[in-house]
Symmetry: C2
Subunit: 416 residues, 2 copies
Amino acid sequence: MSIVVMKFGGSSVADADRIRAAASRAIKTRKQGHQVVMVVSAMGDTTDHLVDLAGQITPAPPKREMDQLLATGEQVTISLVAMALEAMGQPAISFTAGQVGMVTDDAHTKARIRSIDVRRIHEQLDTGRIVIVAGFQGVTEEGAVTTLGRGGSNVTLVAIAAALKADVCENYTDVDGIYTADPRIVPNARKIDRVSYDEMLELASLGASVLHNRAVEFAKKYNVPIHVRNSGNERKGTLIVSETQDMERIVVSGAALKDKLARVTMRNVPDRPGIAAKIFHTIASHKIVVDDIIQTTAPGGAATVSFTVDLGELADARKIVDKLAAELRCEVVYEDRLAKVSVVGVGMRVHTGVAERMFAALATEGINIQNITTSEIKISCLIDREQGKRALQLVHDAFELGGRKVKPKATRKARK
Amino acid sequence: MSIVVMKFGGSSVADADRIRAAASRAIKTRKQGHQVVMVVSAMGDTTDHLVDLAGQITPAPPKREMDQLLATGEQVTISLVAMALEAMGQPAISFTAGQVGMVTDDAHTKARIRSIDVRRIHEQLDTGRIVIVAGFQGVTEEGAVTTLGRGGSNVTLVAIAAALKADVCENYTDVDGIYTADPRIVPNARKIDRVSYDEMLELASLGASVLHNRAVEFAKKYNVPIHVRNSGNERKGTLIVSETQDMERIVVSGAALKDKLARVTMRNVPDRPGIAAKIFHTIASHKIVVDDIIQTTAPGGAATVSFTVDLGELADARKIVDKLAAELRCEVVYEDRLAKVSVVGVGMRVHTGVAERMFAALATEGINIQNITTSEIKISCLIDREQGKRALQLVHDAFELGGRKVKPKATRKARK
């Protein structure tokens, strides 16, 4: 008998009706002859509510206690889902992470899974029950409750599917799947049928928020295909799978826009070994997440070190960099009106001219490129924020990602 | 170093301010040099909210899942209390029942404690931490979450205090202690300084709601003195302790009123062995709780079987008794406007004339007694509900339970 693991995010279990809908969907799968495991998140805005409660007590709650608190959100959902299934005549049993032996390290609020004892899940599946497992949480060897950090329920989904050697791993959300671009910005964005783990990783770090990177990394490591689909309809969603050769026929799979970026540029940095390390060590030690780094060295010897951060982190970064710049006697320029438009696709590895096509598309409307960063399967351009949304549409059209045909423009020549 | 176990009920941890107040109190005790364990309930109306959530899913939730759901209430409180303590500079750690090895049987929603593994509590106390334990919950040997039923947090308090051989066991509530009568009905009711376990057991089953019987039974069994006190002030409350000889000097410790009672009277019941057993077995098998039973047999042979139930149970009882009466060919009378006034005191064992004094007090205002039931330390009179509150005041005054002097009345003669 095949095993299907289905995960329902917070919006798919936000109230009694949606819990019943999720339960119905699981029962339907069960009736098709599969063994079914459900992984569920906290209902709707429960987690926000709990974070707010902690905030009323202290601005800096101990992480162990924060985890003890937050884990109650998923525990509420698992019991309600089990009740809904039983009320519909389907035997069911709920398990917290502790009850199912989901053992993690003790890095509270961002714990990593070490092992899962699936014996108890198999026992219950074999009696015909649907098993509901609390997402997002774990326990240490000593029994302390941990949480898995942002996107943690998806990590639970993939970990359970991998440990059970499940045949299908479904991630139910409130969208139809992964899109070629954010449909709120690009109206002709199209749902992608299949995307590779690596493409998904790039898209996720560029702002596509459906799946968090840790879950995708986990899925890639254990080769678990994830089917991202809409809990509100029966349509096929997006399959996130291992890369196959035919995927390379598609040059670009998706485009993304990361808005609200700021850039810090340090000029005349002494070009000595260890200077860049010092700069970024200092910044990292203040928990500031750096997006992209570009360093150039003039023939004379002094270097220009430039990096981007989320706009929200600029104020903090500024305090640190101002000090550093004084120490190193270099100039600093801060820019706070930037955005980054990117294209992602494993096909870039075998196709040439991708960068040129992207630059040409931006040039048609005079969008100035302020920085370029690339990986093997990604090209990103830093541009003025005002032009971000328009740039995403232009790039999306240039690679013909849209569902509808768009008129060819003069710049399409660049493709040739 | 002595160990103090302090329990804070739902109203004493209902919001962030009250959680901080409870934490301050615990810190004060810690600074006096004691090791401190806090047992806490769910915040305010959290449990009601969770019950309501389950009710939106199904009218008859599986008990295992109900326990999984309800236990989150206390888990939220323990983490918030630990956060509050840490924010005040006091090292603290929270434990769910599972984390502290509070093992129960698997009678979900009314589980009984089998064992507590106090090793982990001692370890943490020895590091100087305040330990916060979730009340009301347990785990089975297999790790399923259970709850201990009504008043369960007090059972946790007493069980933890007994297992730790604690020196002091404090139950913080929103009242000053146990009163000679309900102060909302009897304005001159006085706080009792000391009351025996047996008296408390009688008072609790007669409607004094501060402590549930199971907690008191547990305390009696392990001889744990409980100090019931107000979390809002520093006053001494009521000590619930083993009976001592000097307690018998006080004839009556308290008076109680159980309102909203109904009486079922079956007349001409065949006076054969096993008939009463059949009647009450049938009623119990329908989960109807019978209050008092009185059976009288006329010289002719037919018996009158009479019993009281909570008014809320009358409709259910009626359905069953009507059938039974038809089967046994006897008459039934239902009365739904009754109340029961009682006096309780270990002194009754050695003092005479207590019943007479009570009856005389009721007679002064023409209150008719419809049934009398007694135990070694209790006398109860069934009366008309309309007269219940007045009867409680009369009895309270007759035994001079009030704090203020009351004018002697003609009826006081009956005392002599």
